[in-house]
């Protein structure tokens, strides 16, 4: 299935859940509303024609310093899906507001979502609603702030921590 057909099928199924689509440099992307993300992921995984059985990556982007997007939703959570059976890819994105940085979890769909979502929480401070074990992945619990946010200065020092008592 080529990218346009994938997006068409998603649009047909999800209707208003899809906010926008584009295919920049051959990467087909659908931007979804927050409440539509889990139905969309489930549909992508279970639909026979789409068959996205592999969750390749979850990451996020902080758009607060992006020219022209300073006032829009601050974050975007990005899902990359791949279908081993059909050999095609799609990218799903969901916009997240700064005041309410919560996205429903995909842990029930793919086990790997657990760690990938923990990393997004660690780096961006976006919570995943329903995640069974939302700890930091790469950094330590006492770390202050979320370093991949654009307002985290690259040279900021962290307080020293002692051993856990």
């Amino acid at each position: 299935m080529d990218g346009h057909a994938i997006l068409a099928r998603l649009r047909e199924r999800l209707g208003d859940g899809i906010v926008a689509t584009h295919d920049y440099r051959g990467d087909h992307t659908a931007v979804l509303a927050r409440e539509a993300i889990v139905p969309a992921l489930t549909f992508c995984r279970d639909d026979a024609a789409l068959g996205f059985d592999m969750l390749v990556d979850i990451t996020a982007v902080d758009y607060s310093r992006f020219p022209g997007r300073e006032d829009g939703p601050r974050f975007e959570v990005v899902y990359h899906l791949y279908s081993v059976a059909h050999n095609h890819r799609v990218r799903l994105k969901v916009a997240v507001e700064q005041d309410d940085p919560v996205v429903p979890t995909a842990c029930g769909l793919w086990p790997i979502a657990n760690w990938l979502e923990r990393e997004v929480w660690d780096m961006f401070g976006i919570r995943f609603d329903g995640h069974p074990d939302l700890r930091r992945l790469l950094l330590y619990e006492e770390f202050e702030g979320h370093p991949l946010r654009k307002d985290y200065p690259i040279n900021r020092r962290q307080p020293l921590i002692g051993p856990k008592v």
């Binding site: 982007v61 902080d62 790469l138």
Partner: protein, 456 residues
């Protein structure tokens, strides 16, 4: 009473009452059998692992944040340190992601060079993984043999890039320098040695009773489960899934080079070992064919066949005697090797927005100098149009993806590296569940965790 207290001290409060309790054991972060800093927290019932938890991040050094802080080519040295056993693949994958974002095409010769160097790196990676894995099971000879073979390959890498590990050889739009003269003969020699080593290793361990007992049926993941965990690369192929980005979504020159995908059946440690062994042979096959088909492209010849000193070149230019001057090769100091015009044009894309001009041009003509400045000055440099792109290459451990977002400035707005060894490490608790403590070692070895890319 005293005995009870000792038990409680070691096993925790409330234990020692009914004679059956679980023991919690830390493996790592610094453990002799953990080649990489990682902590496996295992809950044991006797010698059986009931549950495991993996803690990572000990080698985190803010790769993604650092990439945002500098221009596009600044990230190349950081990518060296991702998978430090096969750094060339990281270099090229990152470069290709930015090239995709820019929408430029690299030269044919550069594609072949990337293929050749990637395959040599892949062999290095597999040699290290198999060698270290075998050493932890007691086969120290295998480790020594394989490191010997890797040494031959690293000499090749050193020949091309000037360094063994921190190579920084990739560039957006090309590579740093052309292959040195006589490289194909050296490759032939190194591959002959490597093949000999692989044969010896097969004789030593494939079919060896001790090795088989530790590997067969251990750490197995089924086909569906492997996919659901997002595992790619040799581990997925060992489960019988013919997924190899070099075949399924060919990039560079892989669609023109015939090779086979090595496949396993059971997805256990032994199949992973066999897949890696078979892949090394295939990688050598690819590199040999690529070297044979390496497009030369006419080496530009100067108008009278003489090289000229840089200062004389500049003087001529000042006097206005510029006719044919751009075709004259300039004698350059040795530390600028590979930047002479003939080699430069063959391995770099013809795109002034991206590729630094040759040193001859930068030092010899005002256009070249301006072009050079435009690329190195802050606020200029490589400026892809605003947008995003995801490029995936087949790393030694699986799908190595780079997701790059540009805001139109000279710095990447966001660089995300999708590390190929994160999913298998996340699946380690699942792989070791219900198995013996000793089985953690071969399973961990077959995952081939590389701290640099796992923790970034």
């Amino acid at each position: 009473m005293a005995e009870r207290k000792t038990r409680e001290l070691f096993l925790g409060e409330g234990t020692g009452t009914d004679g059956s309790q679980h023991l919690y054991v830390n493996m790592g972060p610094a453990h002799p059998a953990m080649h990489g800093i990682i902590r496996i927290f295992a809950e044991l019932d006797g010698e059986t692992v009931v549950k495991g938890d993996v803690e990572i991040g000990y080698l985190h050094r803010a790769f993604e944040k650092d990439c945002e802080a500098g221009p596009y080519n600044n990230a190349i040295p950081y990518t060296d340190r991702l998978n430090y056993v096969s750094p060339l693949i990281n270099n090229f994958a990152y470069s290709s992601a930015v090239e995709k974002l820019l929408g430029i095409e690299i030269t044919e010769r550069c594609k072949y060079i990337r293929v050749i160097m990637s395959e040599i790196s892949r062999i290095c990676d597999h040699l290290t993984c198999v060698g270290a894995g075998a050493m932890e099971l007691g086969a120290f000879t295998v480790f020594l043999y394989m490191i010997k073979a890797r040494e031959f390959l690293w000499e090749l890498v050193e020949d091309v890039t000037g360094a063994r590990l921190t190579i920084s050889y990739g560039r957006v739009g090309g590579v740093k320098a052309d292959l040195p003269a006589g490289f194909d003969l050296k490759v032939k020699k190194a591959f002959a040695e490597t093949r000999q080593v692989l044969e010896e290793v097969h004789i030593l361990v494939t079919g060896n009773r001790i090795f088989m007992d530790r590997m067969v049926g251990v750490g197995a993941l089924g086909r569906e489960e492997t996919i659901a965990w997002g595992i790619t690369g040799p581990l997925l192929r060992a489960a019988g899934v013919p997924f190899d980005l070099r075949k399924t979504q060919p990039y560079w020159a892989y669609d023109r080079i015939p090779f086979d995908i090595a496949l396993g059946k059971n997805g256990d440690n032994f199949d992973r070992f066999l897949v890696r062994m078979a892949e090394m042979e295939q990688s050598m096959r690819i590199a040999e064919q690529a070297l044979e088909g390496l497009p030369g492209g006419a080496i530009q010849v100067d108008w009278e066949g003489r090289a000229i000193e840089p200062d004389a070149y500049v003087d001529l230019g000042k006097q206005g005697k510029t006719e044919g001057l751009l075709l004259v090769p300039i004698k350059l100091s040795p530390n600028l090797q590979g930047q002479d015009r003939s080699a430069h044009d063959r391995v770099n894309a013809q795109d002034k927005r991206v590729v630094l001009p040759t040193k001859a041009d930068a030092y010899g003509s005002i256009e070249g100098l301006m072009n050079h400045f435009m690329l190195v000055m802050e606020g200029y440099g490589i400026r892809p149009p605003a947008g995003e792109a995801y490029f995936a290459a087949e790393g030694a451990n699986g799908e190595l993806g780079f997701y790059v977002v540009s805001d139109g400035s000279d710095r990447p707005y966001r660089v995300r590296c999708r590390p190929p060894c994160l999913p298998p490490v996340a699946a380690i608790p699942r792989m070791i569940e219900g198995q013996m403590v000793a089985d953690i070692i071969p399973t961990f070895g077959s995952v081939n965790m590389i701290g640099g890319e796992l923790d970034r």
